[in-house]
C-alpha cells in the first residue's frame, strides 16, 4: 500500500454516507419544520462523501498502479467434481484502482455540487424530502457501483441506479409525460440490463468450463485480488462465446449510456428536474455504461470483433446524436443529445482499447456538461420556459450565467485551453493510433471527427439564441434575474473545473495513467507529433462551427429555413429524431398486441375451454345418471338385483384372484 492509499480500506463509507442521507431524509424529512432542512442534511452528507471520495481518488491518482481490494465473502458453495472443483465464492467489496478513483472523483464532486444547487433550484417544489432522499440513494448506488470489486455487485448497483433514475425522472409524477418518460427510461435500459445479465451468464459458463481451477468465475467475478487484476486483458482468446458475451456487455452499456439504438430514452428523460438531468443524465448514471466498458476491457478483455462493434456503436452514435441536436428548439434536449454524442466519444475510446482515455473524457465531460445543465437550469428558473426561440438577450440580466454557459460551450466544442479540448483530442488521437489495426475503424473515426463541427455549432446556436440580442423574442416572458448564490456557487465551481480540468494531463504520472489498461502492447504515447495535426484540425472545425452559429443566430438573428428548401425534409427528419421512437412504439404495440391476442386466445379457449369442458362432462354425466331415478319401481328393483349380482361376482369370482395375488392362505 502506498503512502496515499491508507484511506482506501474505508472506501465503503462513501456509499454508506449517502445511504444515511437517503434513510434520514426519507424517514424524517417530512417531520422537519421546514422542508428544505432535509435538503441541507443531504447536502452535508454528500459533502462528507465528497471529501472522502476526493481524498481516496486523489490518493490513488498520485500513487497509481496500486489496487486496494477489501472484500467480504457472503456466500461460499463447496466444490464439486467437474466445473467448479474449488466451489464458488460470492463476495461484496470495494476496489480502489485508477479507473474507480477517477470515477469516484467525478461522482462525489458533481454529486455534492448538484445537491447544493438543488437547494436553490428546487426551492418552491413540493415533495422535497422525496427528492433529496431519492437523490441521496442515487449517489449511494452510483458510488457503490464505482467502487464495486466484482461483476455481480456491479450489476446490483447498476440496477439500483436504474431504479433511482426512474424515480427521479418521474419526480413530477402527476405529469403524464413525466411518468411515461420514466417508464420509457426504465424499460429501454432494461433491455440493456437483460443483455448485460446474459453476458454475465455466458462468462460464468465459459469460465466455469474452460478456466483454470480457482479461476475468475469460481471467485465470484472479482476484478482484482490484493494488488493484481484477476484476468489480465492480454489473455483474452478469440472464442465466439467470449465475443458474444462482450456484445452483451456492449448491449448493457448501450442501454445505460444511451447509445444507438437504445438512445431513445435520454431526450425524454429531460422531463425530470434539471438538477436530475445534470447529475444523472450528464455526469454519472449515463457514464456507468462507459465505466462498465472500461472495466470490462481492463479486467476481462474484449475480442477484436467486440472492439469493432464498440467502436462502431460509439462512432456512429456520436455523429447521429449530434445531427439531432442541430435543430432542436428545447434547450435541455439540445444538451441531452449532446450528452449522447459525447458518450459516443467515450465509448469510441474504450473500444479502441484506451479505457483510461475514455474515462478522462468522461471526467471532463461530467464537469462541463453538468455546468451546461445547471446554467440552463438557472435560465429556466428565471424565465420559466425551455424554448430557445422564446428566449433572447439574457446576457444582460444574467451575466454570470451567460459566462458559465459560454465556458461550458467552449469546453464542449473542444477549444483550448478548456478541459474538453484535451480529453476529446486524446480520444481522437487514441482512435487514430489504432486505425491500422482494423480497416473498418476509418468510417467511425471520420464520423467522430465530423461531429466536432456539429458539436460546436449546436451548442453555440443554443448560446446565441438564449443570450445574444437585446431582448427576449417572446415579450410575455417574465423579467429575468440572476440566479441566487446557492445556485451560482456550484456553477462557478464547475466552470473552474471546466477551465482547468484538462490541465490534469500535465501531471507527472497522468500520461502513463492514460495508458493504464490499454489492451495492446507497444501502444504509442497518447500525445505525439501526428496528434498536433489532429488537434489543429479539430480546433479549426470547432471554430468553424462557432462561426456558422454566429452567422445564423448571433445578435438576435433567427435563421429560418426557406419553405421550399431541399433541407426542409431533412430538418423534419431530424426534429422527429429519425422517427425512431415512433418506430419502436409501432413495433412494441404490434408485438404486445400479438402476444396479448395469443394469450387471450389461450386463456379463453384453452384454459376456459378446459374448465367448461369439465363442466360439460360432469353435467352430461349427471344428466345421464339422474335418469336412473325414473320413479318406476321395477327399475329400482333392477338396480338392486344388479348390485346383488355384482356383490356375488365379487365374492365368488374376484376374491379368489385377489387372495392369490396378495398371498393369502
Amino acid at each position: 500500500m502506498g503512502t496515499f492509499t491508507a484511506l482506501d480500506d474505508w472506501a465503503f463509507l462513501v456509499p454508506l454516507l449517502s445511504v444515511a442521507g437517503f434513510a434520514i431524509v426519507g424517514l424524517a424529512g417530512t417531520r422537519l419544520r421546514r422542508l428544505e432542512w432535509g435538503g441541507w442534511v443531504a447536502v452535508a452528507l454528500s459533502g462528507a462523501a465528497m471529501v472522502l471520495g476526493v481524498a481516496i481518488g486523489v490518493g490513488e491518482m498520485l500513487d497509481p498502479g496500486a489496487y486496494v481490494n477489501a472484500q467480504f465473502t457472503w456466500l461460499h458453495l463447496a466444490g464439486s467434481p467437474g466445473p467448479f472443483p474449488n466451489g464458488v465464492s460470492l463476495v461484496v467489496g470495494t476496489l480502489v484502482d485508477p479507473l474507480s478513483a477517477l470515477m469516484l472523483l467525478v461522482v462525489t464532486v458533481v454529486g455534492f455540487l448538484v445537491m447544493l444547487y438543488s437547494i436553490g433550484y428546487m426551492h418552491q417544489d413540493r415533495g422535497l424530502p422525496r427528492y433529496y432522499s431519492e437523490l441521496s440513494l442515487f449517489l449511494a448506488a452510483m458510488t457503490g457501483l464505482v467502487l464495486s470489486n466484482n461483476l455481480l455487485e456491479f450489476f446490483l448497483f447498476w440496477e439500483l441506479v436504474g431504479v433511482c433514475s426512474y424515480f427521479l425522472i418521474g419526480f413530477y409524477y402527476e405529469k403524464p409525460s413525466a411518468a411515461s418518460a420514466a417508464k420509457e427510461a426504465f424499460l429501454v435500459t432494461r433491455v440493456g440490463d437483460v443483455l448485460f445479465l446474459l453476458g454475465i451468464f455466458i462468462y460464468f459458463f465459459h469460465y466455469a468450463t474452460t478456466g483454470p481451477a480457482g479461476g475468475w468465475a469460481e471467485n465470484g467475478f472479482v476484478f482484482a485480488n490484493g494488488t493484481s487484476p484477476f484476468l489480465p486483458a492480454a489473455s483474452v482468446g478469440s472464442s465466439t462465446l467470449l465475443t458474444v458475451a462482450g456484445l452483451m456487455i456492449l448491449g448493457g452499456a448501450a442501454g445505460k449510456s444511451a447509445q444507438f439504438p437504445l438512445h431513445v430514452w435520454l431526450p425524454d428523460a429531460m422531463e425530470g428536474p434539471t438538477t436530475v438531468s445534470a447529475l444523472i443524465h450528464a455526469a454519472t448514471m449515463v457514464a456507468a455504461g462507459v465505466y462498465l466498458l472500461a472495466v470490462a476491457s481492463v479486467f476481462i478483455g474484449f475480442t477484436g470483433t467486440d472492439q469493432l462493434a464498440i467502436v462502431a456503436v460509439g462512432g456512429f452514435t456520436t455523429f447521429f446524436a449530434a445531427t439531432m441536436a442541430v435543430v432542436h428548439p428545447d434547450i435541455k434536449r439540445v444538451i441531452a443529445y449532446s450528452t449522447i454524442s459525447q458518450l459516443g466519444y467515450m465509448v469510441l475510446a474504450v473500444g479502441a482499447g484506451f479505457a483510461m482515455v475514455g474515462l478522462f473524457h468522461l471526467f471532463t465531460h461530467a464537469f462541463f456538461k453538468a455546468l451546461l445543465f445547471l446554467s440552463a437550469g438557472a435560465v429556466i428558473h428565471a424565465v420559466g420556459t425551455q424554448d430557445l426561440f422564446k428566449m433572447g438577450g439574457l446576457r444582460k440580466p444574467m451575466r454570470l450565467t451567460a459566462i458559465a454557459f459560454g465556458i461550458g460551450g467552449l469546453a464542449l466544442a473542444g477549444i483550448p485551453p478548456f478541459a474538453g479540448f484535451w480529453s476529446k483530442d486524446d480520444v481522437l488521437s487514441a482512435v487514430y493510433s489504432q486505425l491500422g489495426s482494423h480497416p473498418l475503424y476509418w468510417p467511425f473515426f471520420l464520423l467522430a471527427f465530423a461531429a466536432v463541427f456539429l458539436t460546436a455549432y449546436y451548442i453555440f446556436r443554443a448560446w446565441f439564441l438564449a443570450f445574444s440580442g437585446d431582448h427576449p423574442r417572446d415579450p410575455s416572458l417574465p423579467h429575468a434575474h440572476e440566479a441566487p448564490w446557492v445556485m451560482l456557487g456550484p456553477m462557478l465551481a464547475l466552470s473552474a473545473m471546466a477551465v482547468v480540468g484538462g490541465l490534469l494531463i500535465f501531471l507527472p504520472n497522468f500520461q502513463s495513467l492514460l495508458l493504464y489498461g490499454a489492451g495492446a502492447a507497444g501502444i504509442p504515447p497518447v500525445y505525439g507529433t501526428t496528434d498536433i495535426l489532429l488537434s489543429t484540425g479539430s480546433v479549426a472545425l470547432g471554430v468553424a462551427g462557432i462561426a456558422v452559429a454566429y452567422l445564423l443566430w448571433g445578435n438576435g438573428r433567427v435563421y429560418a429555413l426557406p419553405e421550399g428548401s431541399a433541407l426542409q425534409p431533412v430538418r423534419r427528419l431530424l426534429l422527429n429524431r429519425y422517427y425512431m421512437k415512433a418506430g419502436y412504439d409501432w413495433v412494441g404495440q404490434r408485438a404486445v398486441y400479438t402476444i396479448a391476442r395469443g394469450a387471450d386466445f389461450v386463456d379463453r379457449y384453452v384454459i376456459d375451454g378446459t374448465v367448461h369442458g369439465f363442466e360439460r362432462v360432469f353435467g352430461s354425466l349427471s344428466d345421464r345418471l339422474r335418469r336412473m331415478q325414473s320413479g318406476v319401481v321395477s327399475d329400482y328393483a333392477a338396480y338392486v338385483i344388479a348390485g346383488l349380482l355384482g356383490v356375488f361376482v365379487l365374492l365368488l369370482i374376484v376374491a379368489p384372484y385377489l387372495i392369490s395375488w396378495f398371498g393369502g392362505t
Partner: protein
C-alpha cells in the same frame, strides 16, 4: 334313471313352465290359475325330498292363503272384468339381468359335486324338535314380523286414507 329322478324331472319342468306362464299370460286371473299349480307342484317336490311337513305347509300357506290373497287383490283393483294390464314389453336390461342370474347360478352349481348324492329322510318329529328347540328364536322372530306386517297392512288400508 330311477323313479324319483323321473318324477323330479317332470315336476321341475312343470314348475318352470307354470312359473313362466303365470308371468306371461295376458289375463290376470289366468295367472292365478297358473301360479296355484306352481305352488302345488313345489309342494310335491317337498314331499319327494322327505319334507312332508313342509309340503303340507306349502299347500296350506301358498296354494291356499297366498293364492286367495292374490285373487282378492286382483278382484279389488281391476277396472274391467278382463283386464289387459297384465303384460308389457320386455326391455333388454331385465332380460340380460335374468340371464346373467341364471348363468351365475349355473357357474355356482359347478362347485357342487355332480352325480348322485344320498337323500336323507327325516322323521317329522325331528323337525318339531329343531323348530321349537334350536330354532325357537326364529319362530319368535317370525311371530313379531308377522305382527308388524299385519298391523302395517291394516293401517295402510284403513278408511279415510286419501
Amino acid at each position: 334313471m330311477s323313479l324319483e329322478e323321473l318324477a323330479f324331472l317332470l315336476l321341475a319342468a312343470v314348475a318352470v313352465g307354470t312359473g313362466v306362464a303365470a308371468l306371461l299370460v295376458r289375463e290376470l286371473v289366468h295367472t292365478i290359475l297358473w301360479i296355484s299349480v306352481f305352488f302345488v307342484d313345489l309342494s310335491a317336490i317337498y314331499f319327494l325330498l322327505s319334507a312332508p311337513f313342509l309340503g303340507v305347509l306349502q299347500l296350506g300357506v301358498y296354494a291356499g292363503a297366498v293364492t286367495v290373497l292374490l285373487l282378492f287383490g286382483i278382484m279389488v283393483t281391476r277396472k274391467r272384468i278382463f283386464s289387459r294390464e297384465a303384460a308389457t314389453g320386455v326391455g333388454p336390461v331385465p332380460l340380460a339381468l335374468a340371464v346373467v342370474t341364471f348363468i351365475f347360478l349355473v357357474v355356482a352349481l359347478g362347485q357342487f359335486p355332480s352325480g348322485a348324492a344320498p337323500v336323507q329322510s327325516y322323521d317329522p318329529s325331528a323337525l318339531s324338535g329343531a323348530l321349537f328347540g334350536a330354532y325357537g328364536p326364529w319362530l319368535l322372530l317370525l311371530g313379531l314380523i308377522m305382527l308388524g306386517g299385519v298391523s302395517g297392512a291394516i293401517y295402510l288400508v284403513r278408511e279415510g286414507r286419501e
